[in-house]
Amino acid sequence: MELARAFSTMAADLPAIFSMIVVSVVGLVMLTVAAFRSDHPSIPWLGVAGMVVASAWELFQLGTEPGTAFFGAIRVGGYAAFINLLVLLAGIATTILSVPYLHRLKHDYGEVYALLMYATVGMILLGSSNSMVSIFVGLETMSVCLYVLAGLIREDEGAVEAALKYFLLGAFSTGFFLYGIALMYGATGTMYLPAMAQADLATAGGTLLFWAGVALFLIGFLFKVSAAPFHMWTPDVYQGSPTPLTGYMSTASKAAAFGSLILVLYYALPAERWTLVLAVVAVITMVVGNVMALSQANVKRMLAYSSIAHAGYILVALAAGTEAAFAGALFYLLVYTVMNIGAFGVMALLEWDGREGRVQTLDSLAGIGTDRPVLGVTMVVFMFSLTGFPPFGGFFGKYAVFAPAVDAGLTWLVLIGVLMSAVSGYYYLRVVYVFWMQDRDDVVDARQASLGGLPPVSRTSQGVLVVCAVGLVAMAFFSGGLIEAATGFFDASAMAAAGGGG
């Protein structure tokens, strides 16, 4: 074969993983710099620059025709670009928010930021996978990095415990996941999602094999998106991990995992069999997340349960299983990522050191809005948006998820979802209430906090939070275009589906 064709093959395949290449290579550079001076201040900004380049690339890819590369293992264009962009933006925001936080804790090693980059690579791979193997590789790359990041602060017993729990439970779920993939492969003879749907199950007698495989596979996925009853690791891990990284775990990893799950549901599994299962999981998840969030005194823990609840809302759309519902779920992921990164970001900037270590009790933040108005106002936006109050993005997200579910005949499920949103109002608004309407002098914890001295607030971090908050308001105005674009991914990628697979 001649050289021209060689370059054309490469040229066809390499852009598909361009952002992965950029992020990995920059990660390697960061490791190299860290080898000379571990806390070199330029390391995180190298990472940010790399991810900015990658997201510019993905932004450019958003409008392109979807297709596949590497023998149908990787998806490119529209859908994949959307998920990748989401992951990259979360990565950028997290890196910037982590800089002052880790610096204050004296954990600003370069390797940490490099790990963040590798986790991002895993998520990008996960979000653009078109075959079971690349899904697994992406999932593991992401998880391994997250296990480490969760236990970063080794001096804190809670963090170590959290990391260990995460790792142990995660390893089990990976086992189920792998077992499931193996069974599905055995039943269909292919690893590629579109081909899996076309495989003739009936003749081979492989239905039981296939469905047992799907069950195990779903358990693995539900674990990763912390859907009940596989959610138990979430509160411990989110509470113990460094706060900006918790925001990252709760958003980017979920966006990638949900993005991949949607592709599997859309391409590989016929919807009707899974509606009831996913609906039941969605109900349990919403109830567990919302009700348990009510009794939390620790904000990070509360946000952990809230993120479980939000996974439940997304599962409502997945249960509906229509293209409009999947598009709604995509839009929800976008909104959710912005508001949750913001909420954790605010908490990261407000963490203070008490006698028992890092303190994040809600009570200790009484009246903080007056002292830190920027943080206070942005937190109000995040909380209102998480509750789903219009005119913030959160409302449009919920609407985009619930309306197609009603159309799909899941009214009962949506009613439960709406009821649970009402419950969620209580704990989100309590934060607003404490931030703005309580007086520091009335609360013992808060007095101690003010004595201990709140950490100085970094301007760049505040800038990220303001961007998130403004974005949530702007989403109200652009939700129409965004949702339409998300719906477009499915129309176009449905056409590309025939071409994919190997």
Partner: protein
């Protein structure tokens, strides 16, 4: 209309700046905005006839049916005028009332934001848009009610109001969605034409109930009325605006708006009439129980809202007319009275009528406004209130099958309202002069009396010349009825039944006012009854929710990883196992199983050994022995693989197992040697779970094995292995050639895992070994290790080389090499091992990955084949190719991975060569004692492919 809304929102955003710029005159300046809007709507009103409405629309979220569409017809015009007109008056008032408050800018921002939301509610044509503004009003009211955030009651009641109306709002959204499905559109103007079809639709009942729930919570209908009196903790201008004329009327607006769509059915009439009538009575009685001016006002507002709901429920021409007129009447007198109450509070420092009296001389202008409003409230001619009440009586009398019931309730409630008017106006302004501290009281400042006086005069004008209102009222009535309705408005309709009822009302009311004190005491004694009221239910519900949450947390989130695992396993056993048993057609046939076992005696024996070892591992207290037993389990499995003719798998399993045992034993130096004994009950639970999960997996496997096996995939690889991959070891050919891309991904995961472990262990402090300083290894071990090192390294290279045709390969070879170094490490400790290696093992990760990627690029560069396509050259009979190079990469990564982890662990566990004595316990000791052998479980799986 969009323009009006944008202007209003802009005004809200500019408010803080304007406050700063305007200084003392802030109220007057800020009132210009709503005043301009009022004038604009008034001008637009000329074009809105009974038939004509203005509609504007813009796309917003078309895929979900959300459009920014607005409509201005009679009903929305009336409300828009109320919202903006009263908004202007109250903006002036608030400027005086809150003069000098440090957060005045914030107050106006929220105030105008609320005004915008309220305008949006009444102008929206799209249901979802309406809902958005609806929740906007709840949100702004939350922040406004809580504005006086120094006081705890203000905060609690703000939250209560928000939760009640917010929950109702969500019900409303659900109702709107159903209505949209039933009617096929989210546009009110479209739905109105499809009213008949919607009323006979299956979804009519749930849609109506949900929408009514939303309206009732917002408009404080029984049993959701309790939030309104509690919300009186808000600053008075807020109450005057939100709780008299605007927010609480949003529910009324919604009912009026949906009347042509949902109204007219028996369900509609009975639901609204029953709720409204109950609300009228509860409000009227409640008003007499209180002495706080604002509480009295709140309860009398509840009465008025009940009246409106009843009138809308009747849903015919006369009742709609009465509703519209009464709505105006109430908005005017109630806002004036709220403002008056605020002025009294401002000047005297109290709102308790028992401490007030004879203020008319000190505050003549305020008193005049109060009298005008009070007379209107009592429904006396020639004020506008009289017109409203007459129309309401007539409407209620016009209903045939309700007979006397409604008029009786109405008379009772209205009589009590007359008494309430007396409490609000006669008590503080007339009689003996009384102030809380006997001090001199002054008239309220200009900004605070002008508003109530203007509103009072407007009420008087409308009473004298009701014809002024003909055009707007008739347009509004037409909009609600959905068809043109003939109306006439007059102060005096002649002597009729309604007039007699009015007379009776006034007489009864005066009597009740005269006997207020004994009535109040009687009502106070009855307060116990209200303990069982809806507010208690709300509190108990909230309480219960918290208790449920706390219980759930205790039950599910003990923090123990064991119970998490137990729950996960339980779900899997139930869900997967249960489904298999119930649906999968799996039946247990022990006889068949026994036959099978007899046919395979060696395997059976091996399985028995493995099972016994697993039991021992679970039962032993000594951690070291447990780990060793687990090693036996793993080695037993490796032997099983040998018997099943899977040498590659067996070798990998064998080596991984050995390495895991060695690593786990190394870690054990820093961990407690004996583990805690669990209570019997928990051990029982764990045993049951273990058996259940084990049985599920076995069942699954057995079921799978019974299926006819589709052999195309293995057949393909068996056939293609030699011609396509030039190798006889199919497993290896798949790994390095056919599926090399997957393998590349997996070794990348290995590399990342190694870096992760390295980072974690590097950050940690060395833990103190519990076994004391490591003993000097025996000479035999050292001598043997040297020998074995060489032997094993040679073996590993051999394995790597022959892997393509015989059992072996990069994974296995890498594990051999790593074992060799680990053995050396055990004999010579860390420092000498590192010296032996010369380079840090993690460099092997990078080199290995680079070699693997490079081998893939060879094909691209030479032959233009896709990435990782194998390229071969023949050297004599020997075939050499890039897949072999790829296998070298795998080999290097595996070696690098294992050694990075082992050496990093060694550094932590054994400490640096001369460990400084640090009195530290390993923090993960407590959590890790259960599953040490699994420490590598997640990352070694790729090796078992």
């Amino acid at each position: 209309m969009l323009l009006a809304l944008l202007f209003s929102i802009g005004w809200a955003l500019a408010a803080p700046l304007l406050v700063r710029a305007a200084g003392r005159a802030a109220g007057w300046v800020l009132a210009l905005g709503p005043a301009a809007l009022f004038a604009g709507f008034l001008a637009a009103g000329g074009t809105v006839g009974p038939e004509a409405s203005i509609r504007e629309t813009a796309a917003w979220v078309p895929t979900l049916g959300v459009e920014a569409s607005f409509v201005l017809d009679g009903l929305s015009l009336l409300f828009a005028l109320l919202v903006t007109g009263l908004g202007a008056v109250i903006a002036v008032y608030a400027g005086s009332y809150l003069h000098g408050h440090r957060d005045l800018g914030r107050f106006y921002l929220l105030f105008f934001a609320f005004l915008s939301a309220m305008l949006g509610v009444v102008l929206a044509d799209n249901l979802i848009l309406l809902f958005i503004f609806w929740e906007g009003t709840s949100l702004c009211s939350y922040l406004l009610v809580g504005f006086k955030h120094e006081s705890t009651p203000a905060r609690t009641s703000a939250l209560q109001a928000l939760l009640v109306t917010g929950a109702g709002g969500l019900a409303l959204l659900a109702g709107f969605l159903l209505l949209g499905i039933a009617g096929g559109s989210f546009e009110l103007s479209v739905l109105m034409e499809r009213g008949a079809a919607i009323r006979s639709h299956d979804l009519y009942l749930p849609a109506f109930l949900l929408i009514a729930l939303g309206a009732f919570t917002k408009s404080a209908q029984v049993p959701f009325h309790f939030w309104l009196p509690n919300a009186m903790a808000a600053p008075t201008p807020v109450s005057a605006y939100l709780h008299s004329a605007t927010m609480v009327k949003a529910g009324i607006y919604l009912l009026a708006r949906t009347d042509p769509i949902l109204g007219g059915t028996g369900l509609w009439t009975w639901t609204l009439a029953a709720a409204g009538a109950a609300t009228m009575l509860v409000g009227a009685v409640g008003a007499l129980r209180h002495t706080d001016l604002k509480k009295v006002l709140a309860y009398s507002t509840i009465t008025a809202l009940g009246t409106l709901v009843v009138l809308l429920g009747l849903s015919y021409g006369a009742s709609i007319k009465a509703a519209i007129v009464f709505l105006l009447v109430h908005a005017l007198y109630k806002s004036a009275l709220f403002l008056v109450a605020g002025s009294i509070d401002h000047e005297t420092g109290t709102r308790n009528v028992l401490h007030l009296g004879g203020l008319r001389r000190a505050m003549p202008l305020t008193a005049a406004a109060a009298v005008l409003a009070g007379l209107s409230m009592a429904g006396l001619p020639p004020l506008f209130g009289f017109v409203g009440k007459e129309l309401a009586y007539k409407a209620k009398l016009g209903v045939e099958n309700l007979g006397w019931l409604l008029p009786t309730i109405a008379v009772t409630a209205n009589a009590l309202t007359v008494a309430a008017a007396g409490i609000l106006v006669a008590r503080p302004f007339f009689g003996r002069r009384r102030t809380p501290d006997g001090s001199q009281v002054h008239e309220a400042p200009l900004g605070m009396w002008v508003g109530p006086v203007v509103i009072g005069l407007v009420g008087l004008a409308f009473g004298l010349v009701p014809g002024l209102l003909y055009a707007p009222v008739s347009a509004a009535v037409d909009a609600v009825a959905g068809e043109p309705v003939d109306i006439n408005l007059a102060l005096w309709y002649g002597v009729n039944t309604a007039l007699y009822l009015s007379l009776a009302t006034v007489a009864l009311g005066v009597a009740a006012f005269a006997g207020w004190t004994p009535i109040r005491y009687a009502l106070l004694r009855l307060r116990r009854l209200s303990r069982a009221g809806p507010e208690r239910a709300y509190e108990a519900g909230l309480d219960g929710l918290f208790r449920l949450a706390a219980w759930q947390t205790r039950f599910f989130e003990g923090g123990s990883v064991r119970s998490y695992l137990a729950a996960t396993f339980g779900v899997i056993a139930l869900a997967v196992g249960g489904t298999l048993l119930l649906r999968g057609g799996v039946s247990l046939q022990p006889a068949v199983l026994l036959d099978g076992l007899q046919a395979l005696p060696y395997e059976t024996g091996l399985v028995a050994i493995v099972g016994a070892a697993a039991l021992v591992a679970a039962r032993l207290r000594s951690m070291l022995l447990s780990i060793t037993s687990l090693g036996v389990v793993g080695l037993g499995l490796a032997l099983l693989f040998v018997m099943m003719s899977a040498p590659d798998l067996a070798m990998t399993q064998f080596l991984v197992e050995v390495l895991i045992v060695v690593i786990a034993l190394g870690v054990m130096q820093a961990l407690p040697l004996a583990r805690e004994v669990e209570p019997r009950g928990r051990r029982g639970r764990d045993a049951v779970l273990a058996v259940a999960v084990g049985a599920t997996v076995s069942m699954l496997l057995l079921a799978v094995l019974r299926l006819p096996f589709d052999a195309t995939v293995p057949q393909y690889f068996l056939e293609e292995s030699v011609p396509g991959g030039f190798g006889r070891n199919v497993v290896n050919v798949i790994l390095v050639d056919f599926r090399a891309l997957d393998t590349l991904g997996e070794i990348a995961v290995l590399a990342v895992a190694a870096v992760g472990a390295f980072v974690v262990l590097k950050l940690g402090r060395p833990a103190r070994s519990r076994l004391g300083p490591p003993p000097v290894p025996s000479v035999v071990l050292r001598a043997g290790a040297r020998l074995l090192l060489a032997l094993l390294v040679v073996t590993s290279l051999f394995m790597l080389w022959r892997g393509h045709n015989e059992p072996g390969g990069g994974f296995i070879g890498g594990l051999f090499a790593a074992s060799a170094v680990v053995l050396y490490l055990m004999a010579f400790r860390q420092a000498r091992t590192e010296r032996l290696l010369r380079v840090p093992p993690r460099s092997a990760l990078g080199v290995g990955l680079a070699v693997a990627v490079g081998s893939g690029l060879v094909g691209v560069a030479l032959a233009g084949a896709p990435f990782l396509t194998g390229q071969w050259v023949a050297v004599g009979t020997l075939k050499l190719g890039t897949p072999l190079l790829f296998d070298v990469g795998v080999f290097l990564v595996v070696v690098g991975f294992t050694l990075t982890i082992v050496l990093s662990l060694e550094r932590v566990v054994a400490g640096p060569p001369q460990p400084p004595q640090q009195p530290l316990a390993s923090p993960e000791a407590a959590a890790a004692d259960r599953q040490p052998a699994r420490l590598n479980g997640g990352t070694t799986e790729p090796a078992e492919v």
